[in-house]
Symmetry: C2
Subunit: 304 residues, 2 copies
Protein backbone atom coordinates (compact mmCIF):
# COMPACT_ATOMS: atom_id res chain seq x y z
CA UNK A 1 0.00 0.00 0.00
CA UNK A 2 1.47 3.33 -0.98
CA UNK A 3 1.23 6.03 1.67
CA UNK A 4 2.39 9.61 1.95
CA UNK A 5 5.03 9.63 4.63
CA UNK A 6 7.09 12.57 5.82
CA UNK A 7 10.63 11.29 6.29
CA UNK A 8 14.01 12.98 6.71
CA UNK A 9 16.03 12.38 3.57
CA UNK A 10 19.76 12.92 3.76
CA UNK A 11 19.92 11.69 0.19
CA UNK A 12 18.36 14.40 -1.91
CA UNK A 13 21.61 14.79 -3.84
CA UNK A 14 21.04 15.04 -7.58
CA UNK A 15 22.46 12.21 -9.69
CA UNK A 16 21.72 10.97 -13.20
CA UNK A 17 22.25 7.36 -14.23
CA UNK A 18 22.15 6.22 -17.85
CA UNK A 19 20.97 2.67 -18.55
CA UNK A 20 21.74 1.31 -22.03
CA UNK A 21 20.23 -2.04 -23.04
CA UNK A 22 19.34 -3.91 -26.24
CA UNK A 23 15.95 -3.22 -27.85
CA UNK A 24 13.53 -6.16 -28.01
CA UNK A 25 9.80 -6.82 -28.08
CA UNK A 26 9.95 -10.40 -26.81
CA UNK A 27 12.17 -12.87 -24.97
CA UNK A 28 14.89 -12.39 -22.36
CA UNK A 29 15.98 -8.93 -23.55
CA UNK A 30 12.37 -7.69 -23.42
CA UNK A 31 12.48 -8.80 -19.78
CA UNK A 32 15.65 -6.73 -19.36
CA UNK A 33 13.83 -3.57 -20.51
CA UNK A 34 10.85 -4.34 -18.26
CA UNK A 35 13.01 -4.77 -15.15
CA UNK A 36 15.30 -1.83 -16.01
CA UNK A 37 12.22 0.41 -15.95
CA UNK A 38 10.56 -1.33 -12.98
CA UNK A 39 13.57 -1.01 -10.67
CA UNK A 40 14.41 2.51 -11.95
CA UNK A 41 10.95 3.59 -10.78
CA UNK A 42 11.44 2.08 -7.30
CA UNK A 43 14.88 3.65 -6.92
CA UNK A 44 13.72 7.10 -8.07
CA UNK A 45 10.88 6.93 -5.53
CA UNK A 46 13.41 6.13 -2.80
CA UNK A 47 15.85 8.88 -3.87
CA UNK A 48 14.12 12.15 -4.76
CA UNK A 49 17.23 13.62 -6.44
CA UNK A 50 17.80 10.61 -8.67
CA UNK A 51 17.12 10.51 -12.39
CA UNK A 52 17.49 7.22 -14.32
CA UNK A 53 17.33 7.31 -18.13
CA UNK A 54 16.74 3.94 -19.85
CA UNK A 55 17.74 3.82 -23.53
CA UNK A 56 17.23 0.83 -25.83
CA UNK A 57 19.26 0.18 -28.99
CA UNK A 58 18.60 -2.35 -31.73
CA UNK A 59 22.22 -2.98 -32.73
CA UNK A 60 25.83 -2.11 -31.80
CA UNK A 61 25.89 0.96 -34.08
CA UNK A 62 22.84 2.51 -32.46
CA UNK A 63 24.08 1.53 -29.00
CA UNK A 64 27.33 3.36 -29.70
CA UNK A 65 25.24 6.43 -30.58
CA UNK A 66 23.09 6.01 -27.47
CA UNK A 67 26.20 5.81 -25.28
CA UNK A 68 27.59 8.96 -26.87
CA UNK A 69 24.26 10.75 -26.31
CA UNK A 70 24.25 9.76 -22.63
CA UNK A 71 27.82 11.00 -22.26
CA UNK A 72 26.97 14.35 -23.89
CA UNK A 73 23.86 14.70 -21.75
CA UNK A 74 26.00 14.23 -18.63
CA UNK A 75 25.65 11.16 -16.41
CA UNK A 76 27.17 10.23 -13.06
CA UNK A 77 27.04 6.52 -13.73
CA UNK A 78 26.31 4.10 -16.57
CA UNK A 79 24.63 0.69 -16.43
CA UNK A 80 25.17 -1.11 -19.71
CA UNK A 81 24.09 -4.46 -21.14
CA UNK A 82 25.87 -4.58 -24.51
CA UNK A 83 24.19 -5.70 -27.72
CA UNK A 84 27.60 -7.06 -28.76
CA UNK A 85 30.25 -6.36 -26.12
CA UNK A 86 33.31 -6.20 -28.35
CA UNK A 87 31.58 -3.77 -30.71
CA UNK A 88 30.61 -1.26 -28.02
CA UNK A 89 33.57 -1.66 -25.66
CA UNK A 90 35.35 1.46 -26.93
CA UNK A 91 32.32 3.67 -26.30
CA UNK A 92 32.09 2.22 -22.76
CA UNK A 93 35.81 2.80 -22.11
CA UNK A 94 35.47 6.37 -23.35
CA UNK A 95 32.76 7.04 -20.76
CA UNK A 96 34.71 5.30 -18.01
CA UNK A 97 37.87 7.27 -18.84
CA UNK A 98 35.98 10.47 -17.89
CA UNK A 99 35.63 9.15 -14.34
CA UNK A 100 32.02 7.98 -14.81
CA UNK A 101 31.15 4.89 -12.77
CA UNK A 102 30.40 1.94 -15.10
CA UNK A 103 28.37 -1.17 -14.28
CA UNK A 104 28.50 -3.89 -16.92
CA UNK A 105 25.69 -6.46 -17.04
CA UNK A 106 25.73 -10.05 -18.33
CA UNK A 107 27.76 -9.83 -21.53
CA UNK A 108 31.47 -9.14 -21.18
CA UNK A 109 34.00 -8.12 -23.83
CA UNK A 110 37.06 -10.32 -24.44
CA UNK A 111 38.98 -8.13 -22.02
CA UNK A 112 36.63 -7.62 -19.07
CA UNK A 113 38.80 -5.78 -16.56
CA UNK A 114 38.69 -2.56 -14.57
CA UNK A 115 39.61 -0.52 -17.65
CA UNK A 116 36.12 -1.36 -18.95
CA UNK A 117 33.95 -1.37 -15.82
CA UNK A 118 33.85 -0.80 -12.08
CA UNK A 119 31.24 -3.46 -11.38
CA UNK A 120 30.30 -6.60 -13.31
CA UNK A 121 26.93 -8.28 -12.65
CA UNK A 122 26.20 -11.54 -14.44
CA UNK A 123 24.44 -14.88 -14.27
CA UNK A 124 26.15 -18.19 -13.71
CA UNK A 125 26.15 -20.34 -16.84
CA UNK A 126 28.06 -23.38 -15.54
CA UNK A 127 25.75 -23.40 -12.50
CA UNK A 128 22.65 -23.24 -14.73
CA UNK A 129 23.70 -26.59 -16.19
CA UNK A 130 24.77 -27.99 -12.84
CA UNK A 131 21.45 -27.18 -11.14
CA UNK A 132 19.56 -29.02 -13.89
CA UNK A 133 21.94 -31.99 -13.75
CA UNK A 134 21.77 -32.22 -9.97
CA UNK A 135 17.98 -32.05 -9.97
CA UNK A 136 17.70 -34.86 -12.52
CA UNK A 137 20.26 -37.02 -10.68
CA UNK A 138 18.41 -36.58 -7.39
CA UNK A 139 14.82 -36.84 -8.65
CA UNK A 140 15.17 -39.50 -11.34
CA UNK A 141 18.51 -41.29 -10.75
CA UNK A 142 18.14 -43.66 -13.75
CA UNK A 143 16.64 -41.16 -16.18
CA UNK A 144 17.12 -41.38 -19.94
CA UNK A 145 17.59 -37.76 -20.99
CA UNK A 146 17.51 -35.89 -24.31
CA UNK A 147 19.34 -32.57 -24.41
CA UNK A 148 18.59 -29.53 -26.58
CA UNK A 149 21.51 -27.14 -26.63
CA UNK A 150 21.48 -23.45 -27.62
CA UNK A 151 24.00 -22.21 -30.18
CA UNK A 152 27.61 -23.40 -30.41
CA UNK A 153 29.07 -20.42 -28.46
CA UNK A 154 30.89 -20.31 -25.10
CA UNK A 155 27.75 -19.68 -22.97
CA UNK A 156 26.22 -22.89 -24.32
CA UNK A 157 29.41 -24.86 -23.71
CA UNK A 158 29.65 -23.59 -20.10
CA UNK A 159 26.08 -24.71 -19.44
CA UNK A 160 26.74 -28.11 -21.02
CA UNK A 161 30.00 -28.56 -19.05
CA UNK A 162 28.20 -27.76 -15.78
CA UNK A 163 25.49 -30.30 -16.63
CA UNK A 164 28.00 -33.00 -17.62
CA UNK A 165 30.02 -32.53 -14.43
CA UNK A 166 26.86 -32.76 -12.30
CA UNK A 167 25.66 -36.09 -13.75
CA UNK A 168 29.14 -37.62 -14.06
CA UNK A 169 29.34 -41.03 -12.36
CA UNK A 170 25.54 -41.24 -11.97
CA UNK A 171 23.07 -43.52 -13.74
CA UNK A 172 21.57 -40.62 -15.67
CA UNK A 173 21.98 -41.41 -19.38
CA UNK A 174 22.05 -38.82 -22.15
CA UNK A 175 20.49 -40.31 -25.29
CA UNK A 176 21.36 -37.45 -27.63
CA UNK A 177 22.29 -33.76 -27.84
CA UNK A 178 21.24 -31.43 -30.66
CA UNK A 179 21.31 -27.65 -31.06
CA UNK A 180 17.96 -25.82 -30.91
CA UNK A 181 19.44 -22.33 -31.35
CA UNK A 182 17.51 -20.92 -28.34
CA UNK A 183 14.52 -20.83 -30.69
CA UNK A 184 11.01 -22.10 -29.92
CA UNK A 185 10.53 -23.35 -33.49
CA UNK A 186 13.89 -25.08 -33.78
CA UNK A 187 13.46 -26.76 -30.39
CA UNK A 188 10.01 -27.95 -31.52
CA UNK A 189 11.60 -29.63 -34.56
CA UNK A 190 14.46 -31.18 -32.57
CA UNK A 191 11.97 -32.54 -30.04
CA UNK A 192 9.82 -34.03 -32.83
CA UNK A 193 12.95 -35.80 -34.09
CA UNK A 194 13.73 -37.15 -30.59
CA UNK A 195 10.16 -38.37 -30.14
CA UNK A 196 10.37 -40.28 -33.41
CA UNK A 197 13.76 -41.80 -32.58
CA UNK A 198 13.31 -42.76 -28.92
CA UNK A 199 10.32 -44.78 -27.67
CA UNK A 200 11.12 -43.97 -24.04
CA UNK A 201 12.35 -40.59 -22.85
CA UNK A 202 12.23 -39.73 -19.13
CA UNK A 203 13.51 -36.17 -19.03
CA UNK A 204 14.23 -33.29 -21.43
CA UNK A 205 16.91 -30.76 -20.52
CA UNK A 206 16.60 -27.81 -22.86
CA UNK A 207 18.46 -25.09 -20.90
CA UNK A 208 16.12 -22.27 -22.02
CA UNK A 209 12.47 -21.29 -21.43
CA UNK A 210 11.73 -20.24 -25.02
CA UNK A 211 12.93 -23.63 -26.24
CA UNK A 212 10.80 -25.35 -23.57
CA UNK A 213 7.68 -23.85 -25.18
CA UNK A 214 8.54 -25.72 -28.39
CA UNK A 215 9.36 -28.90 -26.48
CA UNK A 216 6.00 -28.89 -24.64
CA UNK A 217 4.16 -28.35 -27.93
CA UNK A 218 5.93 -31.32 -29.56
CA UNK A 219 5.18 -33.58 -26.57
CA UNK A 220 1.54 -32.48 -26.57
CA UNK A 221 1.07 -33.02 -30.31
CA UNK A 222 2.67 -36.48 -30.13
CA UNK A 223 0.44 -37.33 -27.12
CA UNK A 224 3.46 -38.95 -25.47
CA UNK A 225 3.04 -39.82 -21.80
CA UNK A 226 6.46 -41.34 -21.06
CA UNK A 227 8.20 -37.97 -20.50
CA UNK A 228 8.23 -37.25 -16.78
CA UNK A 229 9.41 -33.64 -16.92
CA UNK A 230 11.28 -30.90 -18.81
CA UNK A 231 13.93 -28.63 -17.29
CA UNK A 232 14.50 -25.29 -18.97
CA UNK A 233 16.19 -22.13 -17.72
CA UNK A 234 15.91 -18.32 -17.46
CA UNK A 235 12.81 -17.64 -15.36
CA UNK A 236 10.23 -16.48 -17.91
CA UNK A 237 6.75 -15.73 -16.59
CA UNK A 238 5.30 -18.64 -18.59
CA UNK A 239 7.64 -21.23 -17.08
CA UNK A 240 7.55 -19.73 -13.56
CA UNK A 241 3.73 -19.80 -13.75
CA UNK A 242 3.91 -23.49 -14.73
CA UNK A 243 6.03 -24.12 -11.62
CA UNK A 244 3.63 -22.14 -9.40
CA UNK A 245 0.60 -23.96 -10.81
CA UNK A 246 2.13 -27.39 -10.21
CA UNK A 247 2.35 -28.45 -13.87
CA UNK A 248 3.96 -31.88 -13.50
CA UNK A 249 5.88 -31.48 -16.76
CA UNK A 250 7.57 -28.30 -15.41
CA UNK A 251 8.32 -29.03 -11.73
CA UNK A 252 11.18 -26.51 -11.57
CA UNK A 253 12.99 -23.88 -13.63
CA UNK A 254 16.56 -22.60 -13.32
CA UNK A 255 17.09 -18.85 -12.91
CA UNK A 256 19.08 -16.71 -15.30
CA UNK A 257 16.87 -13.74 -14.54
CA UNK A 258 16.60 -10.61 -16.70
CA UNK A 259 15.90 -8.81 -13.40
CA UNK A 260 19.70 -8.87 -12.90
CA UNK A 261 19.68 -5.46 -14.60
CA UNK A 262 17.74 -4.25 -11.53
CA UNK A 263 20.44 -5.62 -9.25
CA UNK A 264 22.97 -3.65 -11.31
CA UNK A 265 20.91 -0.45 -11.00
CA UNK A 266 20.42 -0.95 -7.26
CA UNK A 267 24.17 -1.25 -6.60
CA UNK A 268 25.01 1.68 -8.85
CA UNK A 269 22.59 3.87 -6.90
CA UNK A 270 23.94 2.55 -3.60
CA UNK A 271 27.45 3.50 -4.71
CA UNK A 272 26.33 7.09 -5.34
CA UNK A 273 24.12 7.57 -2.28
CA UNK A 274 25.29 5.24 0.49
CA UNK A 275 29.11 5.27 0.19
CA UNK A 276 29.47 1.51 0.19
CA UNK A 277 32.02 -0.41 -1.88
CA UNK A 278 30.43 -2.02 -4.92
CA UNK A 279 33.36 -2.32 -7.34
CA UNK A 280 33.84 -5.98 -8.06
CA UNK A 281 32.47 -9.05 -9.73
CA UNK A 282 28.99 -10.25 -8.78
CA UNK A 283 28.00 -13.66 -10.12
CA UNK A 284 24.35 -14.42 -9.39
CA UNK A 285 23.43 -18.01 -8.61
CA UNK A 286 21.42 -20.03 -11.10
CA UNK A 287 18.81 -20.53 -8.38
CA UNK A 288 16.50 -23.52 -8.70
CA UNK A 289 12.99 -22.06 -8.98
CA UNK A 290 10.52 -24.23 -7.08
CA UNK A 291 6.96 -23.75 -5.81
CA UNK A 292 8.46 -22.28 -2.63
CA UNK A 293 10.39 -19.38 -4.14
CA UNK A 294 8.58 -18.94 -7.48
CA UNK A 295 6.86 -15.74 -6.33
CA UNK A 296 10.28 -14.00 -6.16
CA UNK A 297 10.70 -14.68 -9.88
CA UNK A 298 7.13 -14.08 -11.12
CA UNK A 299 6.29 -10.80 -12.83
CA UNK A 300 2.90 -11.14 -14.60
CA UNK A 301 3.25 -7.68 -16.21
CA UNK A 302 6.59 -8.51 -17.82
CA UNK A 303 6.65 -9.37 -21.53
CA UNK A 304 8.95 -12.28 -20.61
CA UNK B 1 21.41 18.58 3.89
CA UNK B 2 18.54 16.63 5.40
CA UNK B 3 15.10 17.88 4.47
CA UNK B 4 11.56 16.79 5.25
CA UNK B 5 10.10 15.55 2.01
CA UNK B 6 6.66 14.07 1.44
CA UNK B 7 7.12 11.12 -0.91
CA UNK B 8 4.93 8.19 -1.90
CA UNK B 9 6.37 5.01 -0.43
CA UNK B 10 5.22 1.72 -1.85
CA UNK B 11 7.69 0.03 0.45
CA UNK B 12 6.30 0.44 3.95
CA UNK B 13 6.23 -3.34 4.38
CA UNK B 14 7.56 -4.40 7.79
CA UNK B 15 10.75 -6.45 7.80
CA UNK B 16 13.36 -7.18 10.46
CA UNK B 17 16.97 -7.95 9.61
CA UNK B 18 19.46 -9.30 12.15
CA UNK B 19 23.12 -8.37 11.71
CA UNK B 20 25.62 -10.45 13.71
CA UNK B 21 29.27 -9.34 13.75
CA UNK B 22 32.35 -9.77 15.97
CA UNK B 23 32.82 -7.39 18.90
CA UNK B 24 35.87 -5.13 18.76
CA UNK B 25 37.00 -1.73 20.00
CA UNK B 26 39.71 -1.20 17.42
CA UNK B 27 40.97 -2.35 14.03
CA UNK B 28 39.13 -3.76 11.02
CA UNK B 29 36.31 -5.40 12.99
CA UNK B 30 35.62 -2.11 14.81
CA UNK B 31 35.19 -0.65 11.33
CA UNK B 32 32.71 -3.45 10.58
CA UNK B 33 30.53 -2.42 13.54
CA UNK B 34 30.74 1.26 12.56
CA UNK B 35 29.62 0.59 8.97
CA UNK B 36 26.98 -1.97 10.00
CA UNK B 37 25.33 0.77 12.09
CA UNK B 38 25.98 3.58 9.58
CA UNK B 39 24.37 1.79 6.63
CA UNK B 40 21.56 0.34 8.81
CA UNK B 41 20.59 3.92 9.65
CA UNK B 42 20.53 4.98 5.98
CA UNK B 43 18.48 1.94 4.97
CA UNK B 44 15.96 2.38 7.79
CA UNK B 45 15.48 6.03 6.75
CA UNK B 46 14.82 4.88 3.18
CA UNK B 47 12.41 2.11 4.24
CA UNK B 48 10.00 3.17 7.00
CA UNK B 49 8.90 -0.41 7.76
CA UNK B 50 12.43 -1.74 8.12
CA UNK B 51 14.10 -2.65 11.42
CA UNK B 52 17.78 -3.65 11.49
CA UNK B 53 19.22 -5.09 14.72
CA UNK B 54 23.04 -5.11 14.97
CA UNK B 55 24.46 -7.54 17.55
CA UNK B 56 28.16 -7.88 18.42
CA UNK B 57 29.72 -11.02 19.93
CA UNK B 58 33.19 -11.46 21.40
CA UNK B 59 33.66 -15.14 20.52
CA UNK B 60 32.00 -18.06 18.70
CA UNK B 61 30.11 -19.21 21.83
CA UNK B 62 28.47 -15.81 22.34
CA UNK B 63 27.84 -15.46 18.61
CA UNK B 64 26.00 -18.78 18.65
CA UNK B 65 23.84 -17.38 21.47
CA UNK B 66 23.29 -14.12 19.59
CA UNK B 67 22.20 -16.03 16.49
CA UNK B 68 19.78 -18.10 18.55
CA UNK B 69 18.39 -14.92 20.13
CA UNK B 70 17.83 -13.35 16.70
CA UNK B 71 16.07 -16.50 15.52
CA UNK B 72 13.78 -16.54 18.57
CA UNK B 73 13.06 -12.83 18.17
CA UNK B 74 11.96 -13.46 14.57
CA UNK B 75 13.92 -12.11 11.62
CA UNK B 76 13.23 -12.05 7.88
CA UNK B 77 16.91 -12.05 6.96
CA UNK B 78 20.31 -12.46 8.58
CA UNK B 79 23.58 -10.73 7.71
CA UNK B 80 26.45 -12.50 9.45
CA UNK B 81 30.19 -11.98 9.65
CA UNK B 82 31.39 -14.96 11.68
CA UNK B 83 33.90 -14.73 14.50
CA UNK B 84 35.09 -18.19 13.46
CA UNK B 85 33.05 -19.54 10.55
CA UNK B 86 33.36 -23.25 11.24
CA UNK B 87 32.31 -22.77 14.85
CA UNK B 88 29.10 -20.88 14.06
CA UNK B 89 28.14 -22.58 10.81
CA UNK B 90 25.56 -24.85 12.43
CA UNK B 91 23.73 -21.93 14.01
CA UNK B 92 23.67 -20.20 10.62
CA UNK B 93 22.39 -23.33 8.85
CA UNK B 94 19.68 -23.70 11.49
CA UNK B 95 18.41 -20.19 10.70
CA UNK B 96 18.65 -20.75 6.95
CA UNK B 97 16.76 -24.05 7.21
CA UNK B 98 13.73 -22.09 8.50
CA UNK B 99 13.59 -20.23 5.18
CA UNK B 100 15.32 -17.10 6.50
CA UNK B 101 17.45 -15.32 3.88
CA UNK B 102 21.15 -15.49 4.88
CA UNK B 103 23.94 -13.16 3.70
CA UNK B 104 27.43 -14.26 4.71
CA UNK B 105 30.20 -11.64 4.85
CA UNK B 106 33.96 -12.05 4.41
CA UNK B 107 34.74 -15.23 6.33
CA UNK B 108 33.49 -18.48 4.87
CA UNK B 109 33.24 -21.92 6.46
CA UNK B 110 35.07 -24.87 4.85
CA UNK B 111 31.87 -25.72 3.02
CA UNK B 112 30.57 -22.37 1.72
CA UNK B 113 27.61 -23.38 -0.43
CA UNK B 114 23.91 -22.60 -0.69
CA UNK B 115 23.14 -24.81 2.33
CA UNK B 116 24.88 -22.14 4.41
CA UNK B 117 23.96 -18.87 2.70
CA UNK B 118 21.98 -17.25 -0.09
CA UNK B 119 24.49 -14.47 -0.74
CA UNK B 120 28.23 -14.28 -0.08
CA UNK B 121 29.95 -10.86 0.00
CA UNK B 122 33.73 -10.79 0.42
CA UNK B 123 36.93 -8.98 -0.40
CA UNK B 124 39.49 -10.15 -2.91
CA UNK B 125 42.67 -11.34 -1.22
CA UNK B 126 44.68 -12.41 -4.32
CA UNK B 127 43.82 -9.05 -5.91
CA UNK B 128 44.96 -7.15 -2.79
CA UNK B 129 48.44 -8.55 -3.36
CA UNK B 130 48.26 -8.10 -7.13
CA UNK B 131 47.29 -4.40 -6.89
CA UNK B 132 50.31 -3.74 -4.65
CA UNK B 133 52.64 -5.70 -6.91
CA UNK B 134 51.37 -3.98 -10.04
CA UNK B 135 51.73 -0.53 -8.49
CA UNK B 136 55.34 -1.22 -7.45
CA UNK B 137 56.22 -2.69 -10.85
CA UNK B 138 54.77 0.34 -12.65
CA UNK B 139 55.98 3.09 -10.31
CA UNK B 140 59.45 1.80 -9.34
CA UNK B 141 60.38 -0.94 -11.86
CA UNK B 142 63.75 -1.71 -10.23
CA UNK B 143 62.64 -1.47 -6.61
CA UNK B 144 64.24 -3.47 -3.82
CA UNK B 145 61.31 -4.50 -1.64
CA UNK B 146 60.92 -5.87 1.88
CA UNK B 147 57.69 -7.74 2.63
CA UNK B 148 55.89 -8.09 5.95
CA UNK B 149 53.33 -10.87 5.83
CA UNK B 150 50.38 -11.43 8.18
CA UNK B 151 49.90 -14.83 9.79
CA UNK B 152 50.59 -18.16 8.07
CA UNK B 153 46.94 -18.80 7.13
CA UNK B 154 45.26 -19.08 3.69
CA UNK B 155 44.28 -15.36 3.44
CA UNK B 156 47.93 -14.38 3.81
CA UNK B 157 49.05 -16.94 1.24
CA UNK B 158 46.45 -15.73 -1.28
CA UNK B 159 47.68 -12.16 -0.89
CA UNK B 160 51.31 -13.25 -1.26
CA UNK B 161 50.50 -15.38 -4.33
CA UNK B 162 48.73 -12.43 -5.97
CA UNK B 163 51.75 -10.21 -5.27
CA UNK B 164 54.26 -12.78 -6.54
CA UNK B 165 52.30 -13.31 -9.76
CA UNK B 166 52.11 -9.55 -10.37
CA UNK B 167 55.87 -8.92 -10.08
CA UNK B 168 56.91 -12.13 -11.84
CA UNK B 169 59.33 -11.45 -14.70
CA UNK B 170 59.89 -7.83 -13.63
CA UNK B 171 62.98 -6.21 -12.12
CA UNK B 172 61.29 -5.78 -8.75
CA UNK B 173 63.41 -7.66 -6.21
CA UNK B 174 62.13 -8.98 -2.87
CA UNK B 175 64.94 -8.78 -0.29
CA UNK B 176 63.14 -10.69 2.46
CA UNK B 177 59.73 -11.78 3.79
CA UNK B 178 58.85 -12.10 7.48
CA UNK B 179 55.56 -12.51 9.34
CA UNK B 180 54.27 -9.48 11.30
CA UNK B 181 51.08 -11.17 12.51
CA UNK B 182 48.88 -8.23 11.37
CA UNK B 183 50.11 -6.47 14.53
CA UNK B 184 51.44 -2.90 14.75
CA UNK B 185 54.05 -3.87 17.37
CA UNK B 186 55.27 -6.99 15.57
CA UNK B 187 55.54 -5.12 12.26
CA UNK B 188 57.52 -2.39 14.05
CA UNK B 189 60.03 -5.01 15.24
CA UNK B 190 60.27 -6.73 11.83
CA UNK B 191 60.86 -3.35 10.18
CA UNK B 192 63.59 -2.48 12.70
CA UNK B 193 65.28 -5.76 11.77
CA UNK B 194 65.03 -4.98 8.03
CA UNK B 195 66.44 -1.47 8.57
CA UNK B 196 69.44 -2.94 10.39
CA UNK B 197 70.05 -5.63 7.76
CA UNK B 198 69.54 -3.65 4.53
CA UNK B 199 71.29 -0.32 3.84
CA UNK B 200 69.02 0.42 0.88
CA UNK B 201 65.31 -0.36 0.80
CA UNK B 202 63.09 1.23 -1.86
CA UNK B 203 59.64 -0.05 -0.99
CA UNK B 204 57.88 -1.82 1.89
CA UNK B 205 54.85 -4.00 1.14
CA UNK B 206 53.12 -4.83 4.40
CA UNK B 207 49.63 -5.82 3.17
CA UNK B 208 47.82 -4.28 6.17
CA UNK B 209 47.17 -0.76 7.54
CA UNK B 210 47.73 -1.62 11.21
CA UNK B 211 51.15 -3.05 10.35
CA UNK B 212 51.93 0.06 8.27
CA UNK B 213 51.61 2.16 11.44
CA UNK B 214 54.47 0.16 12.99
CA UNK B 215 56.49 0.34 9.77
CA UNK B 216 56.20 4.15 9.59
CA UNK B 217 57.26 4.43 13.25
CA UNK B 218 60.37 2.29 12.67
CA UNK B 219 61.35 4.31 9.58
CA UNK B 220 60.83 7.57 11.45
CA UNK B 221 62.85 6.49 14.49
CA UNK B 222 65.72 5.25 12.30
CA UNK B 223 65.62 8.55 10.33
CA UNK B 224 66.04 6.55 7.12
CA UNK B 225 65.44 8.50 3.92
CA UNK B 226 66.07 5.77 1.35
CA UNK B 227 62.59 4.27 1.59
CA UNK B 228 60.45 5.74 -1.19
CA UNK B 229 57.06 4.44 -0.06
CA UNK B 230 55.06 1.86 1.89
CA UNK B 231 52.04 -0.04 0.53
CA UNK B 232 49.58 -1.41 3.06
CA UNK B 233 45.99 -2.57 2.68
CA UNK B 234 42.46 -2.38 4.15
CA UNK B 235 41.43 1.29 3.92
CA UNK B 236 41.71 2.53 7.52
CA UNK B 237 40.98 6.20 8.10
CA UNK B 238 44.62 6.81 9.11
CA UNK B 239 46.06 5.44 5.88
CA UNK B 240 43.33 6.90 3.65
CA UNK B 241 43.99 10.30 5.28
CA UNK B 242 47.69 9.90 4.48
CA UNK B 243 46.76 9.27 0.84
CA UNK B 244 44.42 12.29 0.78
CA UNK B 245 47.02 14.54 2.40
CA UNK B 246 49.70 13.57 -0.12
CA UNK B 247 52.07 11.88 2.36
CA UNK B 248 54.83 10.73 0.00
CA UNK B 249 55.49 7.62 2.10
CA UNK B 250 51.84 6.50 1.63
CA UNK B 251 50.96 7.37 -1.98
CA UNK B 252 48.22 4.71 -2.21
CA UNK B 253 46.40 2.11 -0.16
CA UNK B 254 44.63 -1.07 -1.29
CA UNK B 255 40.99 -1.55 -0.27
CA UNK B 256 39.72 -4.44 1.78
CA UNK B 257 37.01 -2.27 3.26
CA UNK B 258 35.04 -3.05 6.42
CA UNK B 259 32.22 -1.12 4.74
CA UNK B 260 31.58 -4.36 2.81
CA UNK B 261 29.13 -5.21 5.62
CA UNK B 262 27.10 -2.21 4.36
CA UNK B 263 27.07 -3.68 0.86
CA UNK B 264 25.75 -6.92 2.37
CA UNK B 265 22.99 -5.05 4.25
CA UNK B 266 22.03 -3.03 1.17
CA UNK B 267 21.55 -6.16 -0.97
CA UNK B 268 19.66 -7.98 1.76
CA UNK B 269 17.22 -5.07 2.03
CA UNK B 270 16.95 -4.87 -1.78
CA UNK B 271 16.05 -8.57 -1.85
CA UNK B 272 13.18 -7.98 0.59
CA UNK B 273 11.84 -4.71 -0.85
CA UNK B 274 12.71 -4.54 -4.55
CA UNK B 275 12.29 -8.15 -5.81
CA UNK B 276 15.66 -8.31 -7.49
CA UNK B 277 17.88 -11.40 -7.59
CA UNK B 278 20.76 -11.12 -5.14
CA UNK B 279 21.59 -14.79 -4.42
CA UNK B 280 25.14 -15.38 -5.54
CA UNK B 281 28.77 -14.66 -4.88
CA UNK B 282 29.94 -11.04 -4.80
CA UNK B 283 33.70 -10.55 -4.70
CA UNK B 284 34.61 -6.90 -4.20
CA UNK B 285 37.69 -5.57 -5.95
CA UNK B 286 40.78 -4.68 -3.95
CA UNK B 287 40.51 -1.16 -5.38
CA UNK B 288 43.67 0.94 -5.43
CA UNK B 289 42.92 3.95 -3.22
CA UNK B 290 44.48 7.08 -4.70
CA UNK B 291 44.02 10.82 -4.14
CA UNK B 292 41.24 10.71 -6.74
CA UNK B 293 38.92 8.20 -5.07
CA UNK B 294 40.09 8.45 -1.43
CA UNK B 295 36.95 10.35 -0.39
CA UNK B 296 34.84 7.23 -1.14
CA UNK B 297 36.87 5.32 1.46
CA UNK B 298 37.30 8.03 4.14
CA UNK B 299 35.08 7.95 7.24
CA UNK B 300 36.54 10.31 9.88
CA UNK B 301 34.00 9.17 12.50
CA UNK B 302 34.93 5.50 12.15
CA UNK B 303 37.17 3.95 14.82
CA UNK B 304 39.14 2.37 11.95
Amino acid sequence: MAALIGVAHADDMKYTIGVSVPAADHGWTAGIIFHANRVAKILMAEHPGLNIIVKTSADPASQNNALQDLETQGINALVVLPTDPDQVVNAIKEIKSKGTFVTLVDRSPSNNDTSVRDLYVAGNNPDLGAEAGNYIKKTTPDAQVVVIRGLPIPIDQQRQDGFDAAIKGSNVKVLEKQFGNWSTDDAFKVMQDYLTKYPKIDVVWCQDDDMAVGVLKAIDQAKRTDIQYVIAGAGSKVMVKNVMDGNKLIPVDVAYPPSMVGTAEELTVAHLYDTIPVQGSYILDATLITKDNAKDFYFPDSPF
